[in-house]
Amino acid sequence: MNTTSSRPGTKPARYGMAVDLDRCTGCGACMIACAVENNVAPAGPDATPRTGITWMRVYQISNGAPFPDSRAAFVPILCQQCGKDTPCAAVCPQEAVEVDPATGIVDQMPQRCLGCRYCMTACPYHARYFNWWDPRWPPGMEKTLNPDVAPRMRGVVEKCNFCHGRLHAARDRAAAAGRRELLPGEYVPACVEACPAGAMVFGDLDDAASEVARLARDGHSFRILERLGTEPKIYYRTARPWVRQAATQQRKETANA
């Protein structure tokens, strides 16, 4: 059942992330690092904001006040790695989605995906993306593909997996060094590494000593759509009340697109 990632010998962990919304300036470095790391193809000319693939996507939110009192904040949304009744894993008809008990990472297996997109309807964070097109790179640019990650074919679903390739690499390094467990910071997803504001912290939520666990406990921390009860593992943190409100409370207004 379990994928290769849960090997005997490696100490189980529950990887999670803490994002400081007060530090994020919405520069988008995380998105680019993510796409570079995971071999996301540049979209074709007719791709739209809703058909493109952005495992990591930064949303701009506003306090809704008009000029001159407007304020903005940026919320990076990636797969929230739900830990309980993971919505997407439950619905996949052919076990193309697996929650790795050794890491808590929700993994998508494109080579088994049928492309029914049921998981996408199940995901409340819209963190799953479908390959509407054949992946195409400008001539020569496929040379820049990351060898640790296989590009996905058309017609399958994909999403953030906390840079699985990096986890494997880190494990191999640790094994080579004869260690059973990874050192803190030895395994970090590309987005966290790339954030120039240091707004993202990654680590083992079960390790009480870890920075991420500390931030998760922080009074300013919250999770998005927490009440759905799916135990997401991405924590957001802000000292600005309006940001927290905008990110957690359903809007009342009836206006729409």
Partner: protein, 587 residues
Amino acid sequence: MGFTRRDLLRFSGGSAAGLLLTPVPWTLLHDTAVLTENWPGVPRPRHGEIATRYTTCTLCAAGCGVRARCVEGQPVSLAGVAGHPGSRGALCPAGLAGHHLTFCRGRATEPLAKGKPVGIDHALASVSAAIAECGSGESVAILDARPGRAASLVYRRFLAGLPKAVHCAPPDAQPYGGFGIDLENTRAILSFGARVLDGWLSPGRVLANRSCFQLIQAEAAYSRTASLADVWVPLPPGGEETFAAAVARALQGDDADAQAAHVARILLHNQPAIAIGGGAAAARINQILGSVGRPGGFLPRRDFMPATNIAALPDHSIRVLLIEEPAANDSLPWDVVARKLAQNPMVVALTPWLDGCAQHADYVIPAPVYLESLDEAPTPEGCTVAGFSLSPALLPTPPKLMAPAEFILRLAHDPSAYSEILKQRVAAIKKEARGTIFTYADAKSTRVADFASADDLWKAMLGGAAWFDDPIRSSRTESLPRAGWSNPPAVPSPEYPLVLISADSPPPHGSPLMSKLYRESGLRRSAIAAAVHPETGRAHGLADGGRAIVKIPGDSFTAQVIFDAAVMPGVIQSAGRASSPASIRRA
């Protein structure tokens, strides 16, 4: 007896049943599975020897250290260099995607004369001829994208040999002249439209200190910085001077309007404080705050190589202009440049791109992009000490491409290669024996003096290293340059009832991946998006999301209208455009 339909039925039925017993259907299934797994057209990433190499980013003036992960020599991902004193281990989005530039469309691949391919020698010849023909009162100018480099020295040396020549820089280059900003100790920043949180100085350094300073953003545009600043002072377009004066009065205890007073209070309570951007306005306030030459303020450094602000040149004075393509997010307002050109001028663009200044050029000399050739990064913008680092090439230089410095050397009939010039620069550093070398690979700092020879230093720097000078205690008293250029305030008129102002820079020229991500996430509005306050929009008969035609004196463009209640009424916010009066109507 003949072969009846019934026999046919029997036969087909039988064979169908029989087929199921053969392995055929099962192999077929298996093969389809295999097919879908190696879907035709999906490239396989190259596997091979993986190496880490180091270089320095030259895409902007920040000069961040770069760690490149290479497969068989080909960079597959870039990252910052931990502990880098200038960049604090950070890279901006453009820097992260720098290794894609090579594959971008719209590159200049061979010398062009009026759009037609020509040999490089022919280009050289005709440029020299044009220079020779320069009449009296007409000058030859090189627009140096980033003065203070070894390349700049090459330019100066070449220009020195000419009767009338000028080494100039884009209007917003060298905003702080020979000063750096002691950001680490600054407690408050009053910014007149500087993109403090959006690419100012080196992002890593700014964001690392963000929690330590109060940010007051004074500008008309609801820019990213404005939207995130601690205080946003929405000035009417061109209102910097007035507001600065008010703040100045408030700082000196005279009465001023509430907003200015509030800002002044913040500045006074969060010392040391500085003001940036906004030309004279900022300079005045800095003077009052005494922020020049003290910790937490502007600190002078060595190696300042002043270049003339092109905006300051007399009009119609340039006969031959050689332009070095400025970095993606520095704007080169062409109208400012055009004003300076004499009749039938010759404009030579030394650029990797066809869509930048090449559009206005008679000759295009294709330049390699970042990572394609050995390059240099001068003192990072706003750094309090002089600095220098090499940007070793990680990719082969494509044929027919020529670094701007190389071209000027050829033009000057100077046999030495650009690399030698760089080597001399390094040698000079070794000779002066000041400062430290930060080597990227081991994140160690070594005194320059401790290097055995200039060659060792050269080797070290080729392997990825940055030199930083020692701080100086100077008694330089000259005040700050009037940073940037404040073009005349755009005043609305009956014909142009609105004001077009630039918000953030548009998605930078570069990686197709980056442009895709920005487009899809809507993080950066494209240059053709025009944001207006809903009321303003309705008043001009616009519809949210609709298309509109924006007219400005002497130009017009179609834009996609975005209603944004955060935008100041009466203005049109569009990315990367010079401020100007404008009118808008539904397309």
